[in-house]
Amino acid sequence: MDFSDQNRWLHRFAVISAVATWILIGIGGLVTSHGVGMAVPDWPTTYGYNMFLFPPSKWVGGIFYEHSHRLFASFVGLLTTVLAIWLWIKEDRRWIRWLGVLAFFGVVAQGVLGGLRVTLMIDSLGIFHAALAQLFLVLLSIIALATSVWWKKWVMTAKTIPITDSMWTANAFVTFLIFGQLVLGAAMRHQHAGLAVPDFPFAYGKVWPATDPAFLEKINRERIDVMDPNPITAAHIQLHMAHRIGALAIVISAGWLAWRNLRAAGTSAVNSRFAIGLLGLILVQAAFGVFTVWSNKAADVATGHVMIGAICLVVSSLFCLISARCGSVAFTVRAPMDSENGSALSVLQSS
């Protein structure tokens, strides 16, 4: 196990890359929140310029967000490339080296996807661009966690935490729900139809809104929005309501997960802290969701909702990874005499 300064710097660099990716998701969120995804019609050039030479005097209106997004994305691309090379040279554990390679191809794919969304003018590609961004952030966060001293020590000391396999499953379930919710959110945002349901907790004053043609015609006639978004359809309203139901399901299951971890491990255990932290984040995220509606989808609030959603996914995924490890370790420690598991322990310690 290598705790040298250099590997500490590798870990710090991975953390910086993950944070930069999170900020990039925020800038990308601003592009969509302001409805300016097409403000720069060409790619990879910017209005015919090499994107790095595009004069700042022309960074106006929607170009500012879109061009910043492209520049910052290039920066994240550079960080990821350096990270992948650094991991390949200095990292002992093969699976992390390959995660670095995966990250490199991920960032290239993500850049191309962003470019195609502009040049092919396909709005729905934005949904995949947004979903891949979230997965990429999770990937970099996993690298950052796995390269940390904390992770290495923690795996080595193999603490016995009374956690069961079903706990890991529960955790994976919550992570899955959160990712599904993020995809739903991306799908909503890339309809370019604005806020499909303008009130909360009710929906057009009802528990479940009407979606008949006469009702849709009425709400579209009465909606005055400077961005003149696409008319609201029944599908938009149903998507919005599905996102609300998803939110409720996540709050309940995150609460249930926290309760189970607390009961099993007490308040001071790592897994309990993670579960409580995740629940806290989910509640903040739910509040941001409500404010997104109440602010009529104000660009900054909606973007905040995207960014906190990304953190929720990261925390939930890392928690998933930790509890997967945690469960294995506990299992290994509980049965140290078993020769098969004994070798499993040594495998774990080397990872």
Partner: protein
Amino acid sequence: MNKSITIFVAAVALSSVTTISAGDIIGKITLKGTPPAEKNLPIASDPFCGKLYAGKPIPTTRFYLVDAHGGLADTFVYIKSGLDGKPIPAPVGTVEIDQIGCEYLPYVFGLQTGQKLHVKNSDPLMHNIHVTPSASSGNKESNKAQMAGGKPYEYVFDSPEVFLRFKCDVHPWMFSYGGLVNHPYFAVSSVDGTFKISNVPPGDYVVEAVHRKTHPRGTGVTQKVTVGPAGGKADFSIEVSGS
């Protein structure tokens, strides 16, 4: 807010007052009910656009442009059917839309398929012209930058589409909507709600009036109109009740 917005195209009995040239269809679009309040455009969010309005009021959205008598502007009126077997004149002249004061003007225009459309930029700043046809229309989407002082871009569209949207993504409040039909018998109602479709051959027609906001799906209200053989008047009225 009045929940019922009614478009009412009244027959305007101008025949006794003015001479109507042969085969003109004239009328007026009246908005019944109180439209929701318009909002100020966020023009100042771009300092270069904001500068153009120093000391001047910022324009608002113009979803419902209504005069004191209820006359509704920006309604596209065209012959929907009845032209079968009649010769369709080739398009004449060029339609022009301008990007000026960080707005597209006119907001609503009519265009014949095959007719030249010029889009120009009169502002001292850059815009982009993003044409966003519906997927099923057959018209082509495009997105091009237009620099300050740049020459106008020319477009020709082959498929009818009501409405074909033009937007600027640099300034996401800028829109223009084209009513695109495969004949020259169309008009856009003016600020007092009146319109005139000129030189319609005699016959029985169905005329449709489509307002961008009240008919977001591009299907408006229709009415049968008979155009007399020798330049007679072609009064008609259309009424639609909102839900």
